[in-house]
């Protein structure tokens, strides 16, 4: 058991947890948080691969780390756009979910 | 000589960690928000300050020492002001 392996397991579990949140949550903000958990898990998985590729006196594979930096910034932009969409939706409808109708009515 | 510096590091860092523990215990055990805020500032100011003091003998260049002190100064400014802001919010919500 070495350090990259520990973080690899952590990343895998983060992806599973986030996926669960994306499917189960009904508020969009919570779905966004879960989506970011999945994103972080994927980045960490990249980081593990990069760390294992350490060679030539470097701490890891710089190509992979460069990709992850790009990924973090893009993920933030996507999150910000999604938050703006969500707030506008909330202003229009007073709702912060994507449900078509109140489920209570559906059951009746 | 280095033995003495190492001793200083061990002494100050241990004291710093102690204040982190104290602050956390306060945060968990104190009865209301304002007293918890009080406990919290012990960890911020004293805990981090002592750790910075303890690490100073280990730095390699004056720039690194300056950076360490800057971190502490920034945390002092940030925690003092944001504690004030949070306390104001707590009071407004209570009244």
């Amino acid at each position: 058991m070495n350090i990259p392996t520990i973080f690899g397991i952590c990343a895998s579990m983060l992806i599973g947890l986030g996926l669960y949140g994306i499917i189960i949550q009904d508020q969009v903000l919570r779905k966004l948080l879960s989506f970011n958990l999945v994103g972080t898990g994927v980045f960490l998985l990249f980081g593990v691969i990069g760390r294992r590729g350490a060679e030539g006196g470097l701490g890891g594979d710089p190509v992979v780390f460069g990709l992850v930096i790009t990924g973090i910034v893009v993920a933030f932009s996507a999150t910000a756009l999604a938050v703006a969409l969500l707030i506008r939706l909330h202003e229009e409808t007073g709702d912060d979910t994507l449900l078509d109708e109140a489920p209570g009515e559906e059951e009746k | 000589m280095s033995g003495l510096w190492d001793l200083l590091t061990i002494l100050f860092v241990s004291m710093g960690v102690f204040f982190f523990v104290a602050g956390t215990v306060g945060l968990l055990r104190f009865p209301d928000s304002l007293t918890r805020l009080h406990a919290l500032t012990k960890a911020d100011n004293l805990g981090l300050g002592l750790i910075v003091l303890g690490l100073l003998p280990r730095v390699e260049s004056p720039q690194d020492a300056l950076k360490l002190l800057l971190v502490w100064a920034l945390v002092l400014v940030a925690s003092a002001n944001s504690s004030q802001l949070i306390a104001r919010k707590v009071r407004r919500e209570e009244s």
Binding site: - | V17, I51, L74, V75
Partner: protein, 93 residues
């Protein structure tokens, strides 16, 4: 010596885990925010300890966190003001 700094870092990590309980339990929003504040300071302490044991770049990460630690608290306090009172008569003297 490095081993001592690791032990110190692990101890700070344990206190962080404990103060996480306050983030989880609350009860007030301010309590959660304060605990997050403490976690931020603890994270900075861990990074400085890492820098002390040879990871020099950790100091820069600690500086970044120190600069941005107040931002979350400010965003929390100011945005809360808006939702708790009407924005029109909220004017500082």
């Amino acid at each position: 010596m490095t081993e001592f700094l690791y032990v110190a870092a692990i101890l700070v990590l344990v206190t962080l885990a404990l103060s996480l309980a306050r983030v989880l339990r609350g009860p007030a929003k301010a309590d959660r925010m304060m605990a997050a504040q403490l976690l931020g300071t603890g994270g900075i302490a861990i990074l400085l300890l890492a820098a002390g044991s040879g990871l020099k770049a950790a100091t820069d990460v600690a500086l970044t966190l120190a600069l941005l630690s107040a931002l979350a608290a400010v965003a929390f306090v100011k945005s809360g003001e808006r939702s708790s009172s009407s924005p029109k008569n909220e004017k500082q003297p």
